[in-house]
Amino acid sequence: MSKNKSEYLINRHDNQYEVVIGLEVHAQVSSQSKLFSTSSTKFGAEPNTQVSLVDAAFPGMLPVINEYCVKQAIKTGIGLKAKINKRSVFDRKNYFYADLPQGYQISQFKDPIVGEGKVILDMPDGQKEVGIERLHLEQDAGKSIHDLDPKNTFVDLNRSGVALMEIVSKPDLRSPDEVNAYIKKLRSIMRYLGTCDGNMQEGSLRADVNVSVRKKGSKDFGTRCEIKNVNSIKFMQMAIEYEANRQVDLIEDGQTIDQETRLFDTKKNETRSMRSKEDAHDYRYFPDPDLLPLEVSDDFIENLKSEIPELPDEKKKRFIEKFKLSPYEANILVSDIETSNYFENVIKKSDVKLATNWIIGELFAALNEKNLEITESPISAGNLSKLINLIKDGTISGKIAKTVFEQMMEGDKDPKKIVEEKGLKQESDPKALEALIVKVIDDNRDKATEYKSGKVKLFGFFVGQVMKVSGGKANPQLVNEILKKKL
């Protein structure tokens, strides 16, 4: 039995194995143009329409660093609370492939632009710190398309030269759940910073996953396998689960694990050997002589620091302290910059507690049902804020508000208008309510007698009847008060 509930262990016979995971995340830098050329980075263009002579490696073409991408990488480094290296070096990683026009990828090997940092994960049983080893800038390759023709491979170079940040974690992750939390947190931080859109469908965020296992309590790392280029969190989790179990089986069987690169087959849900350590490429890294070492000044870094917005961890802290949200609520609301913006817009003019409940409850459920992002919400923050105020000031009841909310979801309608047009305003006139209540008591004489003789449970029945007769509009609080008197 594990003492904390989120501990992920693999049990075989009498042995318990811990899984050790490190991630190399490739995050596409949000930028108009590529890392070393002026070609556009826009996703989804016709093949080979966003390719400059530099991207296609024509003779005599030279790379020129895109300063904006450097800024983005440094900002990300700041967001990861990492050391920014004032001097970094671009190296060539040499290998042949049809979609790598230069025959080398420009990357950073020995001297990355960002050094050690950390990411805090909020796990169900508390916080966990994951170390960041480094972040470096590199070029993306093009895309080989093998399935358009039985004999030929087609190459699309639109992606060739697009800036990527490779963010390498320390081997601090211990479960698929932590990997999920880590990727989400990393994505959230970069989206707050505007340095990566985190769009996994478009390949803006993908990861190489390093997995090893060891007997619980052991301090030594086992032999790791690297699962290449996994492009969704779900697949990462599945791949880790499969791979960890595979390794445990091997150990239990008395075999050794080969250090190798593996691929995750999403259809079969298994990892397969791609190449062994012996077959590993010798990339012959060396400093790119076409580029001078990248040097940034303290001022340059300080200026970027001043552009850093409030990040999720700080925002969460502020939400808890200032708005008295629970950590759970705060976590949900800060997880995504768009959500937190929405929330902060709603509470500008309305009650925080109600806003929190309505966003986390009704709104999320409704968006989920329609498969919409918060940015696509049919209900604007302003109108949700109005709705909350209508509840707060007693114009409508919470129940009626749900009806109004449903109508609002059909289009961004002003809740006040809906209430007026449909006559949903709450009845709070004591005289009118009294008349209603008297009538209900008269219509249910027998039950009233029972109530008076001690069957107090029937009070609810009367409330229900009054609400029914009023079409749900009766002010529940007043109904309670008046009913008590009249019965």
């Binding site: 005599g60 030279l62 049809a98 012959r284 060396f286």
Partner: protein
């Protein structure tokens, strides 16, 4: 004027500016002479018709304020020229026509010059005799079956034979200065970062530098003035204040301190070279310069260092020639097979040798012992020069350890071929400017050159020294037009 092609660039510019000659007359003269000189094999690609048309267009509305008004010029086939085939002397680029222009050639056309064709060179500029070109070896106009030097052998041959009034070459380890020395012409390798590398087929990026090759120092200064510009498209281009080299050219070098490095007295150096050097020292003294003995202690390590750094960079720079995107492709069973066949058939022996050396020295397990160590030594060589330039304004050495050799004489002995660069290579490793000027003849009557090395960005200074010495030396090239039937 029947002697148009005998005129220097400066004379031609003057005659066109004063309307004594039209661009068409000048262009036609050089085209005709080039056509009669096919035996030299100086050209890889001729563009005569276009050149004559451009000359005609120029003459219709001549802009005589330009520095090279209507001057015809052939350039080394390592410079990408828009819409004109650029081969780098290699089969692998045999069919390659760039859609873009190198910055250096663009600068030349911007000043009014007219492209007449692309000049032969060693394949990817790897060679010291122009014998590695896929398009065959080039004859030195000095004598039949003599190499013109390399890699800018087509350029040196064309200037010496007056097929072009002036030209540009590239120099990675001596590829401008050595062929200049072998052909009795002037060649300047500028400071690294002086001329943009944009659009020049790369050999070794940290060493490659374009430069002028001319009949005399003044012409050389004029072209350097045109080609040297800061270029944002080349990250290693340096934004420094460039002189108007030809205007500021002076023979007054009185009191200049010229260093004589003892380490350049290499073992087995021919007597002729030794005495040429001594004569050079006397000429410099005659010009009023002060001669100072200096030491460049790491000179011995320059050649091995160069032959690690340059192939390492080349092995990576040439990876792009893979048959996928442009250039020659051999069919293969699969991608790897296609690569192997394309590169085996597309690259010549010397290029393959250097790719292999480069790949080896960068390989894991060897990187530290070779590449990293070479980089450290390179720094020491640079430090040697930095120390020397605290004491002297320029350094005088022979350009090459021998005069031009026979075609085929060294093709089976790469190391002996590499030794040709022994005096020029340190200059590239240190990123300094160096100029070779013709200074005498050996017993066979072949030209010999002297090299003047300057501090970084100090082109004006070495051009001045060369200009002053040129007058004292009063070199005459002995060319008989033996190839013209």
């Amino acid at each position: 004027m029947s002697d148009i092609t005998k005129q220097s660039l400066s004379q031609l510019v003057e005659n066109i500016k004063s309307k004594k000659l039209s661009s068409s007359e000048v262009t036609k003269a050089f085209v005709e002479r080039s056509e009669k000189s096919k035996e030299l094999n100086a050209y890889i690609t001729e563009d005569y018709t276009n050149a004559l048309n451009k000359a005609k267009t120029f003459d219709e509305k001549p802009n005589l304020d330009l520095k090279l008004p209507g001057i015809p010029m052939a350039v080394k086939d390592l410079f990408c020229t828009k819409d004109l085939r650029t081969t780098a002397g290699s089969k692998i680029l045999n069919n390659f026509v760039p859609t873009y222009e190198s910055t250096v050639t663009q600068n030349i056309w911007n000043e009014g010059a007219i492209l007449t064709g692309k000049l032969n060179c060693d394949e990817f500029a790897m060679g010291s005799s122009n014998e590695t070109s896929f398009f065959g070896n080039v004859q030195n106009p000095i004598d039949k079956n003599l190499v013109p030097g390399g890699s800018s052998g087509g350029s040196s041959s064309a200037v010496a034979a007056q097929l072009t009034p002036i030209t540009i070459g590239t120099d990675t380890g001596g590829s401008i200065r050595q062929p200049a020395s072998f052909t009795g012409t002037v060649g300047l390798k500028p400071t690294y970062g002086s001329c943009s590398r944009y659009g020049i087929v790369a050999f070794a990026s940290s060493l490659d530098q374009a430069g002028p090759m001319a009949q005399n120092v003044k012409d050389c200064a004029l072209l350097q003035e045109v080609i040297s510009t800061y270029d944002e498209k080349d990250s290693t281009s340096i934004d420094f204040k460039r002189n108007e080299y030809s205007k500021e050219l002076t023979k007054d070098i009185k009191g200049k301190k010229i260093g004589i490095p003892k380490e350049y007295r290499v073992d087995g150096m021919p007597k002729e070279i030794e005495s040429l050097w001594k004569k050079g020292i006397e000429y410099a003294k005659d010009c009023g310069a002060e001669i100072i003995d200096i030491s460049l202690p790491h000179t011995n390590y320059a050649l091995p260092t160069y032959y690690i750094v340059a192939p390492a960079e080349a092995s990576s720079n040439l990876a792009r020639y893979d048959g996928v995107k442009y250039g020659f492709r051999a069919e293969g069973e699969n991608l790897i097979d296609m690569y192997e066949k394309t590169r085996s058939e597309g690259f010549g022996t010397e290029v393959q040798r250097r790719i292999m050396i480069g790949t080896y020295v960068l390989s894991s397990g060897y990187y530290d012992a070779y590449y990293l160590k070479a980089q450290k030594v390179r720094k020491l060589i640079k430090n040697d020069f930095d120390d020397a330039f605290k004491k002297v304004d320029a350094i005088l050495t022979p350009s090459t350890p021998s005069s031009a050799f026979k075609i085929g004489e060294k093709t089976n002995d790469p190391v002996s071929m590499y030794l040709n660069d022994i005096f020029t290579v340190p200059v590239n490793l240190a990123g300094l400017p160096g100029i070779s000027i013709p200074a005498g003849h050996d017993a066979k009557g072949y030209p010999l050159g002297l090299q003047i090395i300057g501090n970084a960005f100090d082109e004006q200074n070495i051009l001045n020294i060369a200009y002053a010495m040129e007058e004292k030396i009063n070199f005459k090239n002995n060319i008989t037009d033996w190839w013209i039937k």
